[in-house]
C-alpha cells in the first residue's frame, strides 16, 4: 500500500535494532572470516575437500527431503484436532528439544554393534540375522544411520514450522475445494500444498543451511568414518581451524561453504517461491 519511494527513514527504525544485534554479533566474525581467509588455491588440490563436499551435499539433500516429507505428515497429523493433541505435539517436539551432542551419543548407543537396540529390535522382528550389527562400521549403513538420526532430530522443526503455515490457510478454501469435488488427498494438493509454499520455502532453506552445517552428530556418531565416508564440511572446517590450526585455509573453506550455500539457498528460494498473492 505504500510505495517504496514513500517509505521514510523512520521505517528503518523497525529493522534497526535487529540489524544492530546481528551486525555486532554476526557481521564482525564474518568480516573476520573474509579477512583471514587465504590459500584459496588449496581448495583445488585438497584431496579431502571434494569428497567432503559431496558427502555434505548429499546428506543435505537426502535429510531435508525426508524431513520435508515426514514433517508434512507430522504437521498434518498434529494439526487435526484430537483428544490429547497438545501432549502429542509436545512429545513430537522432544527430539528437537534434546541437546544434539547428547542425543548423538544416545544414537551411538542405539547403533552400538554389541548392545544397540537397533540391531536387537530388528533381530527380534526377524529382519537381521543377528542382534549384533555393526551399523557404523559400514560406509553406507553409517551414512544412513546419520540420515536417520538427523531426520529424527530435525523433523519436528519442520513440522512445527509447517504447522504455523497451515494456520495461515483459510478453512473456507477447503470447503470450496470440497464443493468443487476434491477429496482429502486432492484438497491437500490443490489447497494445502500451494498455500504452504512460502512456509515450505522458509523451512527448507533454513533446514538446508543447518543440515549443510551438520556437525555434532557426525562428530560423535562416526567421527567422519569409516574411511572418511561420512565426514561433512563443517567437521572438516572444525578440524582445519581448531585441530590443524590452519586458520587461513579454514576461513577459505568457510567462504567456499558460504558460497555453495548461497547457490543452494538461491536455488531453493526460486524453486519454492512463486510470487505470492496476498
Amino acid at each position: 500500500m505504500r510505495d517504496s519511494s514513500k517509505a521514510g527513514a523512520v521505517d528503518w527504525l523497525y529493522v534497526a535494532p535487529a540489524l544492530l544485534v546481528m551486525g555486532v554479533v554476526s557481521l564482525l566474525p564474518i568480516f573476520e572470516t573474509f579477512r583471514l581467509a587465504g590459500e584459496y588455491h588449496r581448495l583445488a588440490v585438497d584431496t579431502r575437500f571434494w569428497p567432503v563436499m559431496r558427502t555434505t551435499l548429499s546428506l543435505t539433500v537426502v535429510t531435508v527431503a525426508l524431513e520435508l516429507l515426514l514433517g508434512l505428515v507430522m504437521a498434518l497429523v498434529l494439526w487435526s484436532p484430537f483428544a490429547g493433541r497438545g501432549l502429542v505435539r509436545a512429545a513430537v517436539l522432544i527430539p528437537w528439544a534434546l541437546p544434539t551432542a547428547v542425543m548423538a551419543m544416545a544414537w551411538r548407543w542405539i547403533f552400538n554393534a554389541d548392545y544397540g537396540v537397533m540391531g536387537d529390535l530388528l533381530f527380534r522382528a526377524g529382519l537381521t540375522a543377528s542382534p549384533q550389527v555393526a551399523w557404523l562400521a559400514d560406509a553406507s549403513s553409517a551414512y544412513w544411520a546419520i540420515v536417520l538420526a538427523d531426520v529424527w532430530k530435525t523433523t519436528p522443526f519442520m513440522a512445527v514450522l509447517l504447522m504455523s503455515g497451515l494456520a495461515a490457510i483459510p478453512g473456507e478454501l477447503y470447503e470450496a475445494a470440497a464443493i468443487d469435488g476434491a477429496g482429502p488427498v486432492r484438497r491437500f494438493f490443490m489447497v494445502t500444498l500451494p498455500l504452504l509454499r512460502p512456509t515450505i520455502a522458509v523451512a527448507v532453506v533454513f533446514r538446508a543451511i543447518s543440515a549443510f552445517g551438520l556437525f555434532d552428530l557426525v562428530y560423535v556418531l562416526t567421527g567422519g568414518g569409516p574411511g572418511g565416508r561420512t565426514q561433512t564440511l563443517s567437521v572438516y572446517i572444525y578440524d582445519v581451524v581448531f585441530r590443524y590450526q590452519e586458520l587461513a585455509y579454514g576461513c577459505a573453506l568457510t567462504v567456499a561453504m558460504a558460497g555453495v550455500l548461497v547457490l543452494l539457498a538461491a536455488a531453493l528460494l526460486s524453486l519454492t517461491r512463486r510470487e505470492e498473492p496476498r
Partner: protein, 397 residues
C-alpha cells in the same frame, strides 16, 4: 583482559575436566595454604577432551590471558607449542628433576628441543587379557602378533571375540595402530621427520590388523565402531579374550560386580619378531600459557601438582596414574594397587606419538585411511600410500 581482584592475591587459572574424585580441590587447598599470596581458580570444563582442547584453542587464538596454565594432553602439545601459545619451561625445570619422571612422559613434553610441559598424569596403551580363559586352554600369554592371533583363535567362541581394540575413525585408532606398527618394527615419522607410513613394516602391520578381522576372524567387524568404552564394555562383559586399551579400564574391571574381576592380566602390546613392544603414550600435564601474566606463580602450582605427595594423593583418590617413576614402586601405592608394577613396565616402554606441529592433520589422514582399510574400502597398501601422500603434503607445507 581480565581484572585482578582486590584482595591483592595473584590469580592462577586453568581449565580441567570435572574434578570427579575431588582430589584436585584438596591439592589446591594445600597449595594455597602453602602459598598464601596465590589464589587458584580451577575451571571445570566439559569432560570431553576435544571440547577442552577447543576451549583452550579459542582462548589462545584470541590471545586471551583467561588461562595461566593449560592442562594439556600429550597429543596437543606440539600444536600448542608450534603456535607459540606456550612458554618453554627449561629455565624453570632443572634436568635433575626432569629425570625423575617417566622418560616417555618427558619426551612427550618436549617440542623442538624445548620442554613445555610438566607431566602430571601418565597414560599408555596395553594389552589386557583374560587370565582364566588362557589358563583353561593352557595357552601362555602371547608376546608376538602371531601368538596373539593363535591364542585368540583358540579361545574365542561365538559369544566371546578374540581380540578387540579401538577401530573407529578417531585419534584412538591411530594410537592402537601405532602400537602395532611399532611392534612390527616400523614407525610413522623418523626422528628427522621423514614419513615412514608407507614402508613395508607399516603395511605389514596394517595387513595384520585387516587380516585379523577378515581372514583370521579373531576381531569382530564391530571394532570399526569401537572407542575405548565399547572395547572395555565388551571385554568387561566377558565378550572378548584380548583387548587393547588404556590403564583406566583396570580399575573399572576390578570393581565390585564386574564379571571379569580378578581374571584380567596386562602386558605390553605384542610385537612381531623383529620389533619391540611399545605403548602409545597418552597423558596429561601442565603447560604454561604464553599469555599468562603470572608465569612463576603458575609454574609453582604445576610443580605442586607434580610433586610426589600430590601424585600419590591423586592416584589413591582418583586413580590418576603418576608420572614420577618412584611411585610405581612406592610401597603405599603397591599396597593399594599391586598391578602398578606391571603398569610401570608398560609405561616405561611408552612412546609419544610423532611430535610434529601438523600432527593432527597427519593423524586424521591416518585415521581415515586406516579406517578405510579396516572397512575394506582400500587395501592396506593403497591406504597407507594415500595416507603417506597426505602426510607428506602436510609436512611439506
Amino acid at each position: 583482559g581480565r581484572s585482578e581482584p582486590a584482595d591483592g592475591k595473584v590469580r592462577v587459572r586453568y581449565l580441567a575436566s570435572p574434578d570427579v574424585g575431588g582430589f584436585s580441590k584438596v591439592i589446591i587447598e594445600r597449595f594455597e595454604k602453602a602459598n598464601p599470596g596465590i589464589k587458584v581458580e580451577m575451571i571445570e570444563g566439559p569432560s570431553s577432551g576435544d571440547a577442552r582442547e577447543n576451549m583452550y584453542s579459542t582462548a589462545f587464538m584470541a590471545e586471551d590471558d583467561a588461562y595461566d596454565l593449560a592442562y594439556v594432553d600429550v597429543a596437543w602439545l606440539p600444536k600448542f607449542a608450534a603456535q607459540g601459545w606456550l612458554r618453554p619451561l627449561d629455565d624453570l625445570l632443572p634436568p635433575a628433576t626432569a629425570a625423575l619422571f617417566l622418560p616417555g612422559d618427558m619426551e612427550g613434553s618436549r617440542y623442538q628441543g624445548k620442554t613445555y610441559r610438566l607431566p602430571i598424569q601418565s597414560d599408555g596403551g596395553m594389552l589386557y587379557y583374560r587370565k582364566d580363559l588362557l589358563a583353561a586352554k593352557g595357552i601362555p600369554v602371547p608376546s608376538t602378533w602371531a601368538q596373539l592371533v593363535a591364542a585368540a583363535k583358540a579361545t574365542q567362541s561365538k559369544e566371546v571375540a578374540g581380540f578387540v581394540f579401538q577401530g573407529k575413525q578417531y585419534e584412538g585408532l591411530v594410537c592402537a595402530f601405532l602400537e602395532v606398527v611399532w611392534g612390527f618394527g616400523g614407525d610413522l615419522l623418523s626422528a628427522d621427520g621423514e614419513v615412514l607410513v608407507d614402508r613395508p613394516e607399516a603395511v605389514a602391520a596394517l595387513t595384520a590388523l585387516v587380516d585379523a578381522i577378515y581372514k583370521d576372524k579373531v576381531v569382530p567387524q564391530a571394532v570399526l565402531t569401537y572407542q575405548e568404552e565399547e572395547a572395555r564394555n565388551a571385554f568387561q562383559e566377558g565378550r572378548a579374550v584380548f583387548m587393547r586399551n588404556w590403564p583406566y579400564a583396570w580399575n573399572l574391571m576390578q570393581k565390585e560386580g564386574s564379571p571379569v574381576r580378578g581374571k584380567v592380566g596386562i602386558v605390553p602390546m605384542v610385537s612381531a619378531p623383529g620389533g619391540r613392544p611399545a605403548a602409545t603414550l597418552g597423558g596429561w600435564g601442565f603447560a604454561l600459557s604464553a599469555y599468562s601474566r603470572h608465569p612463576r606463580e603458575a609454574y609453582k602450582l604445576a610443580e605442586f601438582f607434580a610433586s610426589e605427595e600430590s601424585q600419590k594423593l591423586a592416584f589413591l583418590q582418583g586413580g590418576i596414574l603418576p608420572t614420577r617413576r618412584s611411585l610405581y614402586s612406592h610401597p603405599e601405592v603397591l599396597r593399594a594397587a599391586p598391578h602398578m608394577k606391571d603398569l610401570g613396565r608398560v609405561l616405561a616402554a611408552a612412546r609419544p606419538r610423532p611430535v610434529h606441529p601438523r600432527w593432527p592433520r597427519m593423524s586424521d589422514a591416518l585415521q581415515m585411511h586406516v579406517s578405510a582399510a579396516l572397512s575394506r574400502q582400500e587395501t592396506p597398501e593403497e591406504a597407507l600410500k594415500a595416507a603417506a601422500t597426505e602426510i607428506r603434503a602436510a609436512a611439506a607445507r
